[in-house]
Symmetry: C2
Subunit: 258 residues, 2 copies
């Protein structure tokens, strides 16, 4: 069965795109059929996948504006078992006019239901900030992965984001559950990182969600986008690879019968 997982956090620069690309690639390496969707007008996932501006008309903006079916926006990547829906500038206009139509929050959900999809995992790379696009992705998905930096400033915003998810669950998507809070950019050398990770694992309102897997700060992950390949190809033996492979294994272990 298909797990639809939004990779989301209202804060910027916390590793949403890095997680979508590399978790997606790790699941694909494990033999799962994976579709990653670039839901962010900024298009960093699209760039990382090597589209180099040549996206053409088969992208998420035209799906959301009703011009093409969802399946037409699905593109191959250079990785086995990994497909992608890219983005480009079209989505910017769409975002502005999205809320005009009735039931706009379920627009992407409906478009996806109208297309035959045979994936094990669909990952949505979400934009920072609360927006009509984010609402669409959280309504179209069943689960959320929340990347959270192991830094003090990241904790308060996590609680705020959980409140937003509770609101979406009440008003739009009763089946939306938290797949997990993913500690990211963990710097084992610093006591601060260690203390905040400990806080996350002990906080009564967070601890049940925090993954066992932790993504360590690793410059190979910072470099990988400039090479247009996932970390598994760029630096297979790096901590970045090991950590995302471990997260993929943790997700696979959650599968029914696995």
């Amino acid at each position: 069965n298909c797990r639809k997982i939004a990779v989301a956090n209202q804060k910027g620069g916390v590793g949403k795109t890095t997680t979508t690309l590399n978790l997606g690639a790790a699941l694909a390496k494990a033999g799962r059929k994976v579709l990653v969707i670039d839901g962010d007008p900024q298009g960093s996932l699209t760039a990382w996948l090597g589209f180099n501006g040549a996206v053409g008309g088969r992208e998420i903006g035209r799906v959301l504006s009703g011009m093409i079916p969802f399946s037409e926006a699905i593109r191959e990547t250079n990785e086995d078992n990994l497909w992608a829906v890219p983005t480009n500038h079209a989505i910017v206009q769409v975002e502005q006019s999205l809320t005009v139509s009735e039931n706009w929050e379920r627009l992407l959900k409906r478009k996806m239901e109208q297309s035959p999809l045979s994936y094990d995992y669909i990952l949505f790379d979400c934009p920072a900030a609360f927006s009509s696009l984010l609402t669409n992705y959280l309504t179209a998905s069943d689960e959320v992965i929340i990347p959270v930096q192991t830094e003090i400033m990241a904790l308060n915003s996590t609680v705020k984001f959980l409140e937003k998810l509770a609101q979406i669950r009440r008003d739009l998507n009763p089946s939306l559950k938290i797949c997990g809070i993913l500690p990211v950019m963990y710097d084992g050398r610093t006591r601060h990182s260690h203390e905040i990770l400990k806080k996350m694992r002990e906080a009564p309102n967070l601890k049940q969600y925090v993954f066992s897997s932790v993504i360590r700060k690793n410059v190979r992950l910072t470099e990988a986008p400039s090479r247009f390949i996932p970390i598994l190809k760029a630096s297979p033996s790096s901590y970045g690879s090991i950590d995302y492979l471990r997260l993929a294994a943790e997700l696979i272990a959650q599968e029914p019968g696995g």
Copy 2:
């Protein structure tokens, strides 16, 4: 004369708040009269200054909604020569209704002109994302400091932000100039950080703006918000302190006659 500087970048988590607080404190330490304004509904600058939720009605939201004059929102801090305009939830409602009124882009500028202000520096801590609030801060200020991480993903968004500034200069604020691009979170141990800093200093469209001062990645800066004091107090001899003092000196050297 008063330098009004917006600390801005549409990306999240790039060090805008860290720069506003610590550059402000460094300028104050050098004897300049400094006002920092928390323009971000997320309120991390307000939290860092120790307001602990007890902001009351003297904050920027009520200035923007016209309920109080700007001067009434100016608060003392625990640091000599440093004042602050905090924020709280009021600004969220204001942001949503801001664009209704005529000439809304110049709202804060007008409010500030109506108050007697005797500061050497006014720093605006800006929110991530393009928004009506950001437009107000960029119209109320004369200069912009753009913190940019020395990572490949940060470069493209910098160019995009410069285009936004050019648009604001054309349409709303002809005197808006770039004070400088500030390389931040520089990790001297990694070749990647070094290469991207080099790119910034050599890129034809960027190099004339890049500060000499670089803010190194320093866990003392990550910790300081949890201690509710600027880095200069938290860890006076750390790289975080040294780097922001150096940036303050670079700004002071730009002053007429200095």
